[in-house]
């Protein structure tokens, strides 16, 4: 007995018209359409709607929708070398700072150690005036351990002036020549600047090539 078609029936018929049902389901729907005029009417309506929609006239485009580099937001490609040199620049800069800080700390340590040595080196100047037996053990090993600065000072001033050794020791230490500048303090910034320069130059070359390509469009 035929019943009033439901929306579920219409949905099945619609999918059947589009070939979206399984083989078994499609056979069942086809059989029902044969035997049920109400369902056949629904199928007819769906077919007509579909056929009319397929005849919808196509409009011509009002303009072209081509993308320009500006609309597309294109930027010149970054050459592979640029990131490498940029990182190299950053690394060398870090090494430079590391070396610089290392040098500063080194000189601070040196500055802190100097008075200690002076204090220890002081007893010889007071040998004459100091009571005998006053920590000779201390003076002995201390002198042996006296850094080379004093020894060099002796050597520089020569034996003729070494009579008042203790008097000369202090100025000699104070006027000692500046330690030589760490060469890395020059090498690191130079490498950093070179890497940065290469990165910048590569980028500029790439930008120039990109501009040339754009002008051809």
């Amino acid at each position: 007995m035929n019943h009033k078609p439901t929306f579920r029936d219409a949905e099945k018929i619609s999918a059947y018209l589009d070939g979206q049902l399984s083989e078994a389901e499609a056979r069942r729907v086809a059989a029902r359409l044969e035997s049920d005029p109400q369902l056949a009417e629904v199928a007819q309506k769906l077919r007509q709607a579909r056929a009319l929609l397929r005849q919808t006239p196509r409009r011509r485009v009002p303009r072209n929708f081509l993308l320009t580099p500006k609309i597309a937001g294109l930027k010149p490609p970054v050459p592979r070398a640029v990131p490498v040199f940029s990182w190299a620049s950053a690394v060398t800069l870090l090494l430079f700072l590391f070396t610089l800080v290392g040098n500063l700390l080194g000189s601070l340590n040196y500055g802190a150690a100097a008075p200690e040595r002076l204090l220890v080196a002081a007893p010889p100047s007071n040998i004459g005036g100091s009571p005998e037996g006053e920590s000779p053990k201390l003076a002995g090993p201390t002198l042996q351990n006296t850094p080379t600065a004093e020894a060099e000072a002796y050597a520089l001033v020569g034996p003729s002036e070494s009579a008042d050794v203790s008097a000369q020791a202090l100025p000699a230490e104070q006027t000692q020549p500046e330690p030589p500048v760490n060469p890395w303090l020059i090498v690191w910034p130079a490498l950093s600047a070179l890497s940065l320069g290469i990165a910048g130059f590569s980028r500029w070359l790439s930008w120039r090539k990109f501009k040339k390509q754009l002008s051809k469009l």
């Binding site: 196509r58 009002p62 929708f65 081509l66």
Partner: protein, 202 residues
Amino acid sequence: MDELALIRQAQRGDLDAFNRLVLAYQETLFNAALRILGDEDLAADATQEAFLSAFRALNAYRGGSFKAWLLRTVTNACYDELRRHKRRPTTPLEPDDADGEEIESPRWLADPGASPEEQLDQAELEHAIQHCLDALPADFRVVVVLADIQGLDYSEVARAVRVPLGTIKSRLARARLRLRECLQAFWELLPTAFRLQSEDKA
């Protein structure tokens, strides 16, 4: 050059290759947007936006129908336009002349290869279809435009609108029934040729 080669070039940032794809598909995308939005200016904006989005997201394309992929981007752009212009009145399909009278067969509808009678018939059919499409809720309209006007299959439509296949079947059936009911009012007015064709195809 074949389509896939152009897509690969465009994926590497070649704008020239992408623009060749634009020329090939701009009419399809514009017509889909026009039927969904019912307004030429909005459809043009959506089409431009869709191509821009497509170019930016081209690396996400992993094969399959490129037309379906592009129609998905234009569908998204249409939804954006619908949200943006929800409260803004749209331009009617038939523009008015200087006296405010409706121009029945606008110049931009004209098919240069068709006779004046055929052009008039086409304009009437388009008017009827667009009128009935506009009466549908947007979600139903999108599905029927993609499936029946643009010819996508159910799975492609489902991917485009991001809803399950069952929902597509249901929306399409309901949209077709509503359209048929709406077109019934135009049935006698529709050119005989179209009526006969639809009867034949039915």
